[in-house]
């Protein structure tokens, strides 16, 4: 299982990569592995606004359908449209293939998230 140390994580297995006031959000390598072959990613629309922990989309695999939750509140400024036709990219590289890019409402919400080390420990517990 791959965990990148420069990202923030949630217990729902999303990751956040911060770039100034903006952030890329995706699902972790652990999550893609647990889900199995991903067949569909439902994306939100640009300009949609979400609070932290609100569901912003859905990921569907051959095994399960799971909601995607906002690690931090924000406005959608970009969605990864490549996933519409090639959802399996998330299986190939869960960190390279982000799902949404948001403008964060309140950066202090990042303090609530897990660090790479903490997430690694959390996943080890889950196993």
């Amino acid at each position: 299982m791959k965990v990148l140390n420069d990202l923030f994580y949630t217990k729902e297995h999303e990751w956040v990569k911060v770039e100034g006031e903006e952030a890329y959000i995706g699902i972790s390598d652990y999550a893609q592995h647990e889900l199995g072959d991903i067949v569909y990613v439902e994306l939100p629309e640009i300009d949609d606004e979400f609070d932290a922990e609100e569901s912003f989309g859905v990921v569907e695999s051959v095994k399960a359908v799971s909601d995607l939750y906002m690690p931090v509140g924000g406005t959608i400024i970009e969605v990864n449209e490549e996933l519409e036709d090639e959802p399996e990219l998330v299986n190939e590289d869960a960190y390279e293939n982000w799902i949404i890019k948001v403008k964060m409402t309140d950066k202090s919400e990042l303090d609530e998230l897990l660090s790479g080390e903490e997430y690694q420990a959390y996943c080890a517990e889950e196993e």
Binding site: Y40, E42, D48, E60, A64, V65, D67
Partner: protein, 447 residues
């Protein structure tokens, strides 16, 4: 009549003997005597098969059907001609016994029919993708509103009063349970009041529902309504008469997001009100939001063309609490009839049905106006139905027509209580010139 219970007296005795009881009544000995019925049921004496058959057919013959009386009644259910190939193929036992498939992949024939139904509905409506059919037109419209509720942000559905009154009632029932407000737009000169629509739509609007041709048969122009809906991030939902799409602009051409409608007129008899079928087709972006089922084309492990049920898992097996709709079924047999009908007529045939219906309706309209007993209510283009006003109460007028062997039109007052003496006539391609002329002559005498 022979009771269809196969046990003989000897069988009964053998069974009773085995369990140690002396009579059937002993099986009910746990029931206190005080509450048991101590006499026979008050039923007529038994009849022989020939007597039953005669009694039932005498009762059935009291019904007046469109086979005997020419029908000028429409208002949502239509007396179009059904080619004999439709029932002939539909009643083949391989098709007739097929319910919506629950063990789908072994029912390749049923799946292929549904796949072809979807293809034809998508072509007819000009939309990207169709589902396997829904219960009927009104519930299909309400299901479309549920898609808007899931996809868009807001709390209101806007619907024109020119949409069938029963469709609007069903819509309200569905929306009540979802705490969605339904706002109705008034009718102006037989069409949706665009000014009122403009002032009603806002960012809280989930979707806008219109009907074409509308309940009064009027062909509305929805170009501005589509733009208004989209400017406010609302879905445009169009309820359409599938026969009319042979000649009218399709929901796809209008840029609608969802097309729905009643599919009865596609090869299904009136059946005293049902069963009918609803259809729904959407833009590709809404494909995953569609209720019910979609059959897809695939390949089996040997590379042969094969059909598969592609969109059922989410509602039926997982995420049930998040499902937009709990529809897990379709109207397979009615959709089969519609499929055979569309395949039989083809593009040209459907256009011909639409043209003939429209031309005969316009002929009737002109001839009735000439009598001087009717005045037109709207001066608007219409398809196969139109509203007239006259001096007589419409129920009374329809009863007099019935005495003369004619099924009259729809009494508008039933759906719009403040509108007296208005009748909605419907003329399909089935009506002959003779029947229409007879209607005109009879009405001239009655009024």
């Amino acid at each position: 009549m022979f009771p269809y219970i196969p046990n003989t007296k000897q069988d009964e005795e053998k069974m009773l003997d085995f369990i140690g009881k002396s009579s059937i009544d002993d099986l009910f000995e746990d029931i206190p005597k005080s509450i048991a019925l101590n006499r026979s049921l008050n039923l007529d004496h038994p009849l022989s098969e020939v007597e039953v058959s005669k009694k039932v057919s005498t009762m059935a013959n009291k019904n007046i059907s469109t086979d005997e009386y020419p029908c000028f009644l429409g208002a949502g259910a239509y007396d179009h001609y059904i080619p004999s190939i439709v029932p002939r193929l539909m009643f083949r036992s391989e098709f007739y016994t097929s319910y919506t498939p629950y063990q789908p992949e072994i029912n390749q024939g049923t799946l292929q029919v549904i796949f072809e139904f979807q293809t034809m509905i998508a072509n007819l409506t000009g939309m990207d993708v169709s589902n396997a059919s829904l219960y009927d037109g009104p519930t299909a419209t309400a299901e479309a509103a549920l898609i808007a509720l899931d996809k868009q942000k807001g709390n209101t559905i806007v619907v024109s009063k020119s949409v069938h009154p029963e469709t609007r009632r069903i819509l309200k029932t569905y929306m009540d349970c979802k705490d969605v407000q339904v706002k109705e737009i008034d009718i102006k000169d037989g069409a949706t009041d665009l000014e009122q629509l403009k002032s009603t739509i806002n960012k809280d609007t989930l979707g806008v529902i219109v009907q074409n041709p509308n309940f009064f048969g009027v062909i509305e122009d929805y170009t501005d309504a589509v733009e208004l809906a989209h400017n406010n991030k609302a879905l445009m939902i169009m309820n359409v008469d599938p026969i009319s799409l042979g000649i009218l602009k399709t929901p796809g051409e209008y840029g609608a997001d969802i097309a729905v409608g009643e599919g009865q007129s596609l090869g299904n008899p009136l059946n005293f009100g049902g069963p009918y079928l609803g259809f729904m087709a959407v833009k590709k972006s809404l494909m995953r939001k569609m209720p019910g089922r979609i059959v897809g084309q695939s390949e089996d492990h040997e590379g042969n063309r094969a059909f598969t049920l592609t969109l059922q898992a989410r509602e039926q097996h997982i995420r049930r609490e998040k499902a937009i709709s709990n529809i897990c079924s379709n109207q397979a047999l009615n959709a089969l009839a519609a499929t055979i009908y569309m395949a039989t007529l083809g593009k040209k045939g459907l256009k011909e049905v639409a043209m003939q219906s429209s031309q005969k309706a316009h002929y009737t309209y002109r001839e009735l106006l000439k009598t001087g007993k009717f005045k037109e209510v709207y001066n608007k283009p219409f398809f196969k139905e139109f509203v007239f006003e006259t001096s007589m109460d419409i129920d009374q007028l329809n009863n007099k027509l019935l005495e003369k062997g004619i099924i009259g039109g729809f009494n508008i007052e039933k759906a719009y209580p403040n509108r007296k003496n208005q009748i909605l006539f419907c003329v399909t391609e089935k009506r002959t010139k003779e029947e229409i002329d007879n209607l005109v002559n009879v009405l001239e005498v009655i009024l």
